[in-house]
């Protein structure tokens, strides 16, 4: 099966890392497609970035439909445009945030999220609420590093990350950590070993979830609520989004 893992920002190093993480966990017969969208912000670190990132996501899903994609992973913890993407994708699409948050609830009664920047806390909170896990998530912590710092090979990422995880486990009395950024792709297993508790990378979990849904023949409902949008004209720079 072909699964497209969409990083809705335009950071190529990050996309490569996300692709590698997805490939490392995918089943032998799963092909992972990880591309950089043509349009989008270089990083997603504000509501402004999130709102605009939906454009690249939708481009990639539209392309995916022509590429014979069976399912999608949205590899951004903020889940920009997730419902919109569900309306136009024929296969299932799972966000890394919902995947990680629900998985955490199977592994611990309480968990904490560690994300990048202070201003992204509110986004993580929104996802905890929309995933229904307000009682399970006991805290949201930040390492105070931007995506560009996270993907800079000269950065010391692991130190601040382990410190933030330790602080989270101790202060929140949590049993597990959810990594709250696509920029932390691939860091789960190492952190798990170091901390002695589950550290959940939503990209890895979402790949397994989408593989599972596709293999079960389950995809987004076309009844009532997420049916494909009615054909309609789009203007200006959005003209390419008009229905053919």
């Amino acid at each position: 099966m072909r699964i497209k893992v969409i990083n809705p920002n335009t950071n190529r190093i990050l996309t490569d890392r996300i692709g590698a993480t997805a490939r490392a966990v995918a089943a032998p017969d799963t092909e992972i497609v990880a591309t950089v969208p043509e349009a989008g912000p270089s990083a997603i670190e504000s509501h402004y970035d999130l709102a605009l990132a939906a454009v690249g996501l939708l481009q990639e899903v539209r392309d995916g439909e022509r590429q014979g994609i069976d399912g999608y992973v949205l590899a951004c913890f903020g889940d920009p445009g997730l419902h919109a993407a569900r309306e136009i994708a024929s296969g299932p699409i799972v966000g890394m945030a919902e995947a990680a948050i629900h998985a955490a609830s199977y592994l611990a009664t309480k968990f904490s999220i560690v994300t990048t920047l202070d201003r992204m806390r509110i986004v993580a909170e929104r996802l905890v609420v929309s995933s229904g896990m307000e009682r399970h998530c006991r805290g949201i912590h930040v390492i105070d590093m931007s995506i560009s710092a996270l993907t800079d090979s000269r950065s010391n990422v692991k130190g601040p990350l382990i410190d933030a995880c330790r602080k989270a486990l101790h202060e929140d009395r949590s049993g597990a950590i959810v990594l709250g950024s696509g920029g932390m792709a691939g860091l789960g297993p190492g952190l798990s070993r170091e901390l002695g508790c589950p550290v959940i990378d939503g990209i890895a979990v979402a790949v397994k979830l989408v593989e599972g849904l596709v293999s079960l023949g389950l995809s987004t409902s076309r009844v009532f609520d997420l049916a494909p949008p009615e054909p309609k004209a789009y203007s200006g720079i959005l003209a390419p989004f008009s229905s053919e």
Copy 2:
């Protein structure tokens, strides 16, 4: 003061109607600016439309900042891109949905929403939740008319609308109606008289709210959560959204 009322779809008839509604209720010294965004869907009737409509909204706010706008009204019941717009606008911005829903809570202990299409119910529900009014909103009803039908001069809008409002009041035992679409701009007072209860047009209420906030010198907080986004490159068709 100058208030920009942004209809994030590209329907010109609707924009004119929204502008007229806003002007009819604005204070004598308020100038209402109502324009059609360059980019966007011809109507907002799906999550896909909502996600993409944020682009036109943000264009209009960016333009507004150069036009000396004092405050903004987001004239779409789905509130697309509202948080993003708050990050880049120097004046306050209020969504028609939150304005209408909170106003309803001052006028009745229970209210109902009447919106356009069945698939927009879920959007109205999300706004009720984000406005904190789940206990007050007792039902969401639809007239099953698209925006293009609503703005077609040959349509009989009033009949289905009154029927839906009557059904809502009766079934939900509600005391007030919230009009759940920018496409119903200007219909509040007439329906109020017909039904003998408050019928709330969020555009009108939002204009008064923004006038009030501006006159009090209150605008979006720049402390912590809604501070302006860090400068950053945007690619492709979104390049114009890069910081100068």
Copy 3:
């Protein structure tokens, strides 16, 4: 239009201050009526005070109906008797707490309340819940000063208030402050400048809201839930509250 701003305690200095605050923000053609109720506590600082303060509020609204009042502001953060007042007032009535709390949600994703005494925290909490803003309000802080201290010209109010606001912003990582007492009327703009973030005085916001509702022809619903009470006899000291 005539708006009556009701301070339901009998502190004359406070009523004058509230009246001045209301007048300072009212539109040129709005007449503000601010009177001291005949019956009531000298300050509202307990549930006992709150319960009894409803009597003076209802007296003032009954009088207001004979005085041609178009709309009312309830200038006590505890909102005593608000629903009762809605049943008997022909114009809209907005409480300073709901007005401030909703306004805060338009200006910041998270806010804190600063109120007077420790025992009033629970009242502020109740209002946050009834306004639907539990997720937005991140903390309630006190300055530990009674209403009589707040209105004593020899008191240093500003120092403790700024300290409490700074503590609230820092500890709660909030973007805005809601002033949680009628006794803080008029202090919003100065604190805003000092703190560099929105500081919201509910009396000012409520005046603008009531002006807006009246100008839109919106008032309390008479359908179902807040219809005028059936005529009925009241005994003892409450005999004046019988229907004529």
Copy 4:
């Protein structure tokens, strides 16, 4: 022990009925004191009535403190002034609504409330929320009879009441009924037999609860939140409520 059962309206027939109900269930060594307050509405059937009824309740509690009362039952389903009364009573005070609602949760996983008038639904809803039992209460039904009809010996109360209970059990698939009015005092056991399920009269349950709390030496906390109000002057018709 002496328990005062306070009906905060001035209907003497109702007070007698409430007193008789309380006496019928009280322990042999419990003395029930049931009096009519000097001030108050002849029935409680609106928010206006509820707000003013707190005055008579507080009068009765003040008197009770001089009469050596050990505990109080608030015999009105709307719980007017309950927190205020807790601040000034030395013994415990339990409202009939919270008592009945919590008892129902021990006897069934789902229950329904049957109350008097349509406009009192919203009051019953508020009590369900404040008692924390929103998931247990599956419906609120009315018999559409005023308190004066309920206490008129010529009225047929039982017929409409049984019909409403049957409808509630059937539609809500509930396992128990909570009687939602002091005016239904004493009707629980007969209805229980007729319907074959628990029918809970909050006055009876509250008497047993208060007997229990008093016998265990438990009363309202004086630490932090419900401490006695600070002494303070009250004006006008409320002057008698000043602290001595």
Copy 5:
């Protein structure tokens, strides 16, 4: 009347203490039956213990039905098997947790729970949620002592308990304490005197509640939801639980 107080673990010292506590508060004509179940864990200190403790509880209720028991108290703060027990008991059954938590809400607007071990916090949290009192319970604190330490006559229980209560009152600004373990039976009154606030022992409160319900003729509903289970075969060590 005969009330069976069931300690679902097999600690005899604890059962004796629970029985003594129940007898000390029971009415003169109430007979308290307190026995040790044949099957069960020596203490309940994990979800594993809780799940298995339901077996002994159900044995005791089945026996109770042959012993002419009128009502039951479940003397374990974790409420294991409470709904199951309700299905098979003819009289009412109240858990010590729900009894204590609701009683606390009548005595204070905010309370804290003090329990035994860190890992039992999550169980106390679950009970606060199922009792509907999330807004009232402001904290859960532990003394870090096992049940076997609590019932060891050489242990100093009172010291850590008073320290934990003081910490809870101070940090949570709570007005009352709920004792969160059957192992603290009988310690309420002494702690109340020491701390100057209500300290609630759920076993004592539940005994009074069950006495009240039985005296009012109220028992578990047999309509719809908690009707007796259909007869059915049980295998293996559970064969004794088959219907006769």
Copy 6:
């Protein structure tokens, strides 16, 4: 990898069906172990059955730990003993209810549950709450068939099931169906085709989830909350549950 799928009742036909369903969806290198517990009810159709079924579940997990099991699926929609099992299993364990409910939230904004008997509705409700999906689940419907009827080869199961699903989709305006009983194992794909919307069998989804978690090296946290229980003596028929 070896996954044990535990049907905690003793119905052999059902266990075989569950095993077959699991095998049909498992990856080629996954071995499915599906056994009948020695102790337990012949079907799970009450709280009484649920409480006792935890015994067989825990037996099977204890055995599984000696059998080199890598992960577990709890194949009963009531999730009996799930937290207890997590404390003693070294591999992850997922309940069919949480798996199905979360999967439904990825495929539709609203879903309905179809389960067996009226008295199991309340159990399904509890699981919706504990899974955090109260806003997504719009209704719970029953086919009014016992487990023994469901596994009787002479029964017409499909007819009532399709009728109930159609009713659910229509009345609740839902986009997907969750099958609310282990007794419906294997019926998902056929119903999906018939109804034209996703019909989710929690056993199939849980198998894929557990495969995913095991392949990612993720298992229940041993930090804080779900650590293995302290060794302890168990008495009577539960003696085999003592720690060795």
